[in-house]
């Protein structure tokens, strides 16, 4: 593994079992994540985009072992040593937790309403860094200050803060142990536009100060564009296109990526958009379509697309696309 790669997943898979009957027999599984591989380099931000149900949230949770993967490896570069997170036992996992943290989507439900924010932020410091007493209190107050909150409010409860402030508390909790990688699961979806801007700016500031890498999971392409250096597009559990931001956004090669980008309403009334409107809706992950999973909605589908799963090809340096056809002519 290259030295500048912080995290790499190899064929990460996560299936959820569906079982019925008194004896809970497994009858099928949901292919939430099916063979996902990507890498995050140190000091850069990585974005994972896709619509609901594509599995991006599951990827985020699995990387941090809140869910256990069904298969594949999650390789973390711990000071030159490569550790497979997927294979760790509970004790070693605890040690790794101080290197990777997560910020959740909904700030309202990710904070325990019955605990003060001081308790919430102190928790990782207590458990993972073993801090106590004065040192702990000072650390908590400093963290609050770092994220732009008033340290005097440490004894307040989450419900007394606004949505943006709660998200800052979540961020404070995540950076408390100074992790190397922070996974942000839709951190600004529930916020207003102006608050979103404040939070995004805060994240960039913190990154410079603490030298972390971010993994952004979002369906909001403009946020990803703003914050990330590399991006991967997911559809129904697979990555269909990945690469540098410029490549994927400006020279997207996969029909789904194209459709996704063209569907976003752009705040510019002068741009006449040629929208690719996809037919139908996302198929169920219980029984994904055969061959290329996108073929049921792809405007360029040919017979081969339903028979064979496509292999990835390299469309440019580091720009990978999973499609049978290279250089599709998009009308």
């Amino acid at each position: 593994m290259d030295d500048d790669v912080l995290l790499q997943t190899v064929n990460l898979t996560k299936y959820f079992n569906i079982s019925t009957g008194i004896f809970r027999r497994k009858i099928s599984h949901v292919h939430a994540v099916d063979g996902v591989s990507f890498r995050i380099r140190r000091g850069t931000n990585f974005g994972l985009v896709g619509e609901s149900g594509c599995g991006k949230t599951t990827v985020g949770r699995t990387i941090i072992r809140l869910l256990d993967p069904t298969g594949g490896q999650i390789l973390f570069n711990d000071d030159g040593q490569q550790i497979d997170i997927a294979a760790l036992g509970k004790a070693e996992l605890r040690k790794m937790r101080s290197k990777m943290q997560i910020v959740f989507q909904d700030p309202q439900s990710s904070l325990n309403p019955r605990r003060t924010i001081r308790d919430t932020i102190a928790e990782p410091l207590e458990i993972l860094k073993g801090m106590r007493g004065e040192e702990l209190e000072l650390a908590v107050l400093e963290l609050l200050d770092d994220v732009g909150l008033n340290p005097e409010h440490a004894q307040r409860y989450p419900h007394e803060f606004s949505g943006g402030q709660r998200q800052r508390i979540g961020i404070a909790r995540a950076i408390a142990v100074n992790p190397e990688l922070v996974i942000l699961d839709e951190p600004t979806s529930s916020l207003d536009v102006s608050v979103q801007a404040q939070v995004l700016n805060l994240l960039l500031e913190l990154q410079k100060e603490h030298q972390m890498s971010y993994m952004f999971i979002s369906h909001d392409l403009s946020v990803i564009r703003h914050m990330c250096d590399e991006v991967a597009v997911m559809y129904l559990g697979e990555i269909v296109e990945s690469g540098g931001i410029r490549d994927v956004f400006l020279e997207s090669k996969h029909p789904y990526t194209r459709a996704l980008f063209s569907a976003i309403p752009v705040p510019d009334p002068t741009r006449k958009r040629s929208r690719i409107v996809l037919q139908g809706s996302v198929p169920s992950a219980l029984n994904p379509p055969s061959g290329c999973r996108f073929h049921t909605r792809c405007p360029y589908a040919k017979p081969i697309c339903s028979e064979q799963a496509p292999k990835e090809y390299e469309a440019g340096r580091g720009h990978w696309v999973k499609c049978h056809f290279q250089d599709l002519k998009f009308e």
């Binding site: 809140l66 937790r97 101080s98 439900s109 325990n112 458990i127 107050l141 770092d146 008033n150 700016n201």
Partner: protein
């Protein structure tokens, strides 16, 4: 309130000041709690010294007026204390930290019925605890206090100057019976509820946390308990213990570990009721605990706690349980009311407190023949006592429920 991201402007000294201030607040609260307890204890001691154990017989009027004075003083002090407490409660507990509890407290204060309920219950507790000071006549359940001659002369007297609420069938003063009877009702209610809740919490937590077969098994047990014919069970239990004598001996020894007569007589016959009620009344708590834990378990902050490395024990005790407690408090309060009622009903049927026991239900039982006659006071006064206390508990329980879970009345 929100400001753009600031540089680290606070000096070490400022932060230390903040910490010092928080310690100060904590000390204030501790002082308040100590002061409160001290007042209660002092009150109790002072009046305990002044009060005298009266003797049966034509009552010494000076002692009687003294008793009335004590009662009035208590009530007055109580109201004043409550007023001050309400005001300072806010200031001390909520000034330096606002709470999720503050909103709850505010809603509770506004609910008149709930406040009345709280008042009734606190009065009840005071009456039960200080019964020996408040009752005009000594403890009716202790036969040593009774002069049989006096008793025989004053059977079933209507209310008079010497006996404010009259006397009961055994010649005991009704007011004293009611006052001492509150002890039984309260004690039984609390003990049954606490035991039943404990069972419910343990079973509910286990079922919710482990799921699978454990959950299914406990659910089945719960269904059986819910469907169990309570009255039948109690009647059978009491009859058996009353009529059949059996004992269990440790093998090869003469040590008796289980003696049915003793069990029956324990607590004047109420021990069996306690057992029956505690064993059969935990369904409500079980269901609520289980459903709350199931829903809280899936909440994101539990996952977040796991992400920062919390182990199972920490998650259960620090994250899940505090969120589960509020509905339980409501259930327990309402449960006490139902226990009091059940005990009264059982005693009325003759299966509750035994002969000689001082309980409201027993009093109604003893006076039941006269319910429609001129001696209806024998039934009326204990009935009022029961109604008032149940009302108090129910209002408090409803008020708590509304405070914890306000519904939009709009």
């Amino acid at each position: 309130m929100e400001r753009p991201v600031a540089r680290r402007v606070r000096s070490e000294r400022d932060l230390e000041e903040l910490i010092a201030r928080r310690k100060e607040n904590f000390r204030k609260k501790v002082k308040f709690a100590l002061a409160f307890s001290a007042i209660i204890v002092v009150f109790g001691q002072v009046y305990s010294m002044l009060g005298r154990e009266g003797t049966l017989g034509p009552l010494d009027m000076s002692v009687w007026t003294h008793r009335i004075f004590v009662v009035c003083l208590y009530v007055l002090a109580f109201y004043i204390f409550l007023k001050i407490a309400y005001r300072y409660f806010d200031r001390i507990f909520f000034k330096y930290r606002t709470n999720t509890w503050e909103l709850t407290w505010r809603r509770f204060r506004r609910n008149n019925a709930a406040n009345l309920g709280l008042l009734i219950i606190i009065t009840l507790v005071i009456v039960a605890v200080f019964a020996h000071l408040l009752a005009p006549y000594p403890d009716p359940s202790k036969t040593v206090n009774y002069d049989p001659n006096y008793a025989l002369k004053h059977l079933e007297e209507p209310p008079s100057k010497t006996h404010i609420l009259g006397t009961d069938r055994n010649g005991r003063d009704m007011l004293s019976v009611l006052i001492y009877g509150s002890r039984i009702s309260l004690a039984l209610g609390l003990s049954v509820e606490l035991t039943a809740s404990l069972i419910g919490i343990i079973f509910g937590s286990v079922a919710a946390y482990y799921g699978g077969w454990t959950d299914k098994l406990l659910n089945v047990i719960n269904d059986i308990v819910m469907a169990f014919p309570f009255l039948l069970f109690v009647i059978v239990l009491v009859s058996v213990f009353r009529q059949v004598y059996f004992s269990i001996k440790l093998p090869f020894t003469d040590i008796i570990i289980f003696d049915s007569a003793k069990i029956f007589a324990l607590w004047n016959g109420l021990f069996l009721i306690f057992v029956a009620l505690a064993l059969l009344n935990w369904s409500g708590v079980y269901r609520v605990v289980r459903s709350r834990i199931l829903s809280v378990k899936e909440m994101e902050f539990v996952e977040a706690a796991r992400a920062v490395g919390a182990n199972d024990r920490r998650i259960i005790f620090r994250h899940i349980l505090p969120n589960v407690l509020s509905p339980i408090i409501v259930l327990v309060t309402l449960g006490i009311a139902s226990v009091i009622l059940t005990e009264a009903a059982l005693s009325y049927l003759g299966f509750g407190a035994a002969e000689g026991a001082v309980s409201w239900g027993r009093a109604i039982f003893e006076g039941r023949e006269y319910a429609t006659t001129s001696k209806a006071f024998l039934v009326f006064f204990p009935g009022i006592a029961i109604v008032v206390s149940i009302l108090g508990f129910n209002s408090l329980g409803d008020g708590l429920r509304d405070a914890f879970d306000p519904r939009m009345k709009r």
